[in-house]
């Protein structure tokens, strides 16, 4: 009963496809930003350094005390005391190689690696101060925070674009449904005049339209996923954001929500629009 083609039909399919495509991109961007934020947060949070500077005789005792504190702190995965060679390697850029480090009263460095949950660095600092007065925790917070904040904002922006694109898609599908129904006003009128019940007419349109929107959105999602897949793969280095664009594992299931959402919106938009234009006919 519903004309199978025409520009309004193409419009529905196309706008669903285009918006689905954009939504998949935004989704990929947002997921990548989320992962980046997580990575920066955890990687930077996980590696910290404790420096123990004390008179020569106390160093060993304080190191042991600090180790005790660190080992009983929840959220810390491993703790390692750096030996002289490692410390020397760290200092070389600053003081060159010709220096007799063995004879110097160098502080002792302890590398701390947190686990996923992370640890409470303020609490740790206080406990260290109590147990080993010469110990200083350097958790690189000054370096970490702006980066984490930036990645977080990027994720927020991704989510914001998803929200915008979703709203736009919905509005576009609603309007396309309205336009198509307006173009088919004659069909609705004739059907009503020859005794078709509202449910019959609404059903005919809703089925057609939902199918169109889902088909369009599926097409767009497919193309979007393909495009994301084909994005040139940057090496997995520290910068990491670009490398992270794309879906990972279960993340590939996310875009599949797009056609479902489009179908849902199309279903209700067509239903309400059809009922409304029917209400104008007796």
């Amino acid at each position: 009963m519903v004309p199978p083609t025409g520009f309004t039909a193409q419009l529905t399919v196309f706008s669903a496809a285009a918006m689905a495509f954009l939504a998949v991109f935004a989704l990929a961007l947002s997921l990548a930003a989320g992962r980046l934020a997580d990575r920066w947060t955890s990687e930077l949070a996980r590696s910290a350094t404790v420096r123990i500077s004390a008179p020569q005789g106390q160093i060993e005792a304080q190191t042991r005390a600090a180790l005790g504190v660190l080992q009983t702190t929840p959220g810390i995965a491993s703790v390692r005391v750096l030996d002289k060679d490692e410390q020397q390697a760290l200092l070389t850029p600053w003081i060159g190689q010709g220096l007799p480090l063995d004879v110097l009263p160098l502080p002792q460095l302890i590398e701390v690696v947190g686990d996923e949950t992370g640890y409470d660095s303020e609490g740790l600092r206080q406990r260290l101060a109590a147990e080993a007065p010469g110990a200083r925790l350097d958790d690189h917070a000054r370096w970490r925070e702006p980066l984490v904040r930036a990645a977080g904002r990027l994720r927020d922006l991704g989510l914001l674009s998803i929200l915008l694109i979703t709203l736009t898609t919905a509005a576009m599908i609603v309007l396309a449904a309205h336009a198509a129904l307006a173009a088919n006003a004659q069909v609705i009128r004739v059907l009503r005049l020859i005794g078709a019940q509202d449910s019959f007419i609404v059903h005919a349109f809703v089925r057609r339209f939902t199918a169109r929107a889902v088909a369009g959105a599926t097409l767009g999602t497919g193309l979007g996923m393909l495009a994301v897949l084909l994005l040139p793969d940057a090496p997995e280095t520290a910068g990491g954001l670009a490398a992270g664009i794309g879906f990972r594992g279960w993340g590939w299931l996310w875009p599949l929500a797009v056609p479902l959402l489009a179908g849902f919106v199309a279903f209700w938009a067509t239903r309400l629009a059809a009922l409304r234009s029917l209400k104008e006919l007796s």
Binding site: P3, I194, S199
Partner: protein
């Protein structure tokens, strides 16, 4: 089967029809005449419930239209065959599909429909145009198709608005005899027309009453034809 009781109607600015009482009972045959713009189409719209009277009562198959919900109206319309003045079709379906549409809509499509449809198309002289789309038909062909669509459900009441306005005299007589035959089977028939020759021809075949809208009222026009 359709009864109007003291019905009035106006499109807003004053009344167009007022105090109209009429009963379309089984086996009755009415002609409706009146000058252009006097309200014939409006009257038919009241009968098939597209318009609700501003005063008075319209009853369809025993129920007051004001008390019927939308689905009741849809069901009642399946028992009324309507030929609109400007024939209304679905332009993307062939003429045969358009004529069979009431069957599909009423969920009544059956095995012997194809045969019925062919016979009906032959009767209105569209046998060789069955596959054409409505815009490819001539004016008269469209009117005949509209009549075919109106009778395919074998409705209890047939309302026809100028069904012969674009049809030549031979075809008019043929359509009239189709309506007369349906009338003899007990259908109530109401034809709005300004073609007095058609009314005269009908009087030789059926017992038709001629109604005339004049001065916003419905009058029986009898002997003067």
């Amino acid at each position: 089967m359709i009864g109007l009781e003291n019905v009035s109607y106006g499109y807003g600015d004053g009344e167009l029809l007022s105090g109209i009482t009429l009963d379309l009972s089984p086996g009755s045959f009415h002609f409706l005449t009146g000058p252009s713009g006097s309200g014939k189409t409006t009257f038919l719209k009241l009968c098939y419930m597209e318009l609700v009277p501003t005063a008075g009562h319209v009853r369809a198959f025993g129920r007051d239209v004001r008390e019927m919900d939308r689905d009741d109206i849809a069901r009642a319309r399946r028992r009324i065959g309507i030929v609109h003045q400007d024939c209304q079709f679905l332009d993307h379906l062939s003429i045969a599909e358009n004529i069979a549409l009431p069957l599909a809509v009423g969920g009544r499509a059956g095995p012997d429909d194809a045969e019925n449809l062919d016979a009906l198309l032959g009767w209105v002289g569209l046998g060789n145009r069955a596959g054409a789309l409505p815009p490819e038909l001539s004016g008269g062909e469209r009117q005949r198709a509209a009549l075919a669509r109106a009778v395919i459900m074998s409705p209890d009441v047939i309302l026809a608005d100028e069904p012969t306005g674009n049809v030549d005299w031979e075809m008019s007589k043929r359509l009239l005899s189709l309506l007369a035959e349906l009338n003899r089977m007990g259908k109530a028939i109401l034809v709005a027309t300004h073609d007095l020759n058609l009314i005269r021809a009908a009087k030789t075949k059926v017992n038709a009453r001629v109604l005339r809208i004049s001065d916003r009222r419905l009058q029986l026009a009898g002997a003067d034809l």
